[in-house]
């Protein structure tokens, strides 16, 4: 009786999944277990499947993903902290036939770039915002972010976020969903296979809606920061489910009227 060996299976014709070639073939600069890498991969899979590599301009932020342009095999501009939506506004207005997206973290999008975020959303610019929310400033060493949870510890709130003096976490995604200029606002995650697949679907919809001139699509991805949270990657994903998701529930917040 024939036995199917590992070698029999590992053949090009049997390939069912590999890292997309639109992710540059190099090691990512992110910490082990960080959701950025998965978010990058889903983004590039969508660009690959839509066949829009030559028509896509990305904008990288300041923060952990400042080096995103090193990993994404498309034309990318690196923005000053928080200014990505301003860059994207100009790119999309000057080249309306292009697909334009920004990739921003919580400090970038919801603190220093709040004005740029809200006004780009309010003007109904036709680009996609990918918002990675891990409730902390990862790159600079784990400081409090606008999205840090109440009582959550960070290096600038070592005794936990005191909402009396530091305010409450900003739900900017819900906030921009109230603006007529946004067409599709959703909150996703990338820590389980099911969530990753949903995120990919959301990203594809976001690109399609904004290209169809419906306005800004914002895909928030609630993610982990195991280094900043001082946990193992697996622990951080569990902590995220137990603590982040109740405050930042997953799912669509706004979908285009036609749906």
């Amino acid at each position: 009786m024939a036995v199917i060996t590992r070698e029999d299976i590992i053949k090009p014709e049997n390939l069912v999944y590999k890292r997309t070639s639109l992710l540059v073939d190099c090691a990512l600069s992110y910490c082990p277990g960080c959701g950025h890498g998965t978010a990058h991969r889903m983004l590039m899979e969508v660009i690959e499947e839509m066949g829009i590599q030559s028509k896509t301009i990305g904008v990288a932020p300041v923060g952990c993903s400042v080096l995103a342009y090193e990993f994404l095999d498309i034309d990318v501009q690196q923005a000053a902290h928080g200014r990505a939506p301003a860059l994207a506004t100009a790119i999309k207005r000057l080249m309306p036939e292009k697909y334009v997206f920004t990739y921003q973290g919580d400090g970038d999008l919801a603190a220093i770039g709040t004005a740029e975020t809200i006004h780009a959303c309010n003007r109904g610019e036709n680009f996609v915002i990918i918002f990675i929310n891990n409730g902390i400033y990862g790159m600079t060493g784990g400081q409090m972010a606008p999205t840090t949870l109440p009582h959550m510890r960070a290096s600038t709130c070592p005794y936990g976020r005191d909402t009396e003096t530091m305010g409450n976490p900003l739900k900017i995604t819900e906030l921009v969903a109230t603006l007529p200029g946004t067409c599709y606002v959703t909150r996703q995650a990338v820590h389980t296979p099911g969530n990753v697949r949903k995120t990919k679907k959301a990203l594809r919809k976001a690109f399609e809606y904004s290209y169809a001139k419906k306005g800004v699509s914002l895909v928030e991805i609630v993610s982990n920061c195991n280094s900043g949270w001082k946990m193992t990657p697996v622990q951080s994903n569990k902590w995220m489910e137990e603590n982040m998701f109740p405050y930042y529930p997953l799912g669509d917040i706004k979908v285009p009227a036609a749906e």
Partner: protein
């Protein structure tokens, strides 16, 4: 009736040992190697032949280091 059989290839040098893939495998195929790669990470490894090629591990791997293959196997062959 056909059954599926899979196999994964892990890029040991790019694996950062985060272990996220370990828990998502429904067949408990993956474990961490006692050895480390040149970056010093314990890398993921295949421990048995129960892989069904479901792609869960590859989809969730933050560094995209897992490649998945799958074949349909006629029942009589198994």
């Amino acid at each position: 009736m056909a059954k599926v059989k899979g196999a994964i290839v892990i890029n040991n040098e790019r694996c950062k040992g985060c272990e996220v893939c370990v828990d998502v495998c429904p067949e408990s195929v993956i474990a961490m190697n006692k050895n480390v790669n040149t970056k010093g990470y314990h890398y993921a490894m295949v421990t048995n032949e129960n892989c069904t090629g479901c792609t869960n591990c590859a989809v969730v791997c933050p560094d995209g280091v897992i490649t998945v293959y799958r074949v349909k196997v006629p029942t009589e062959v198994v």
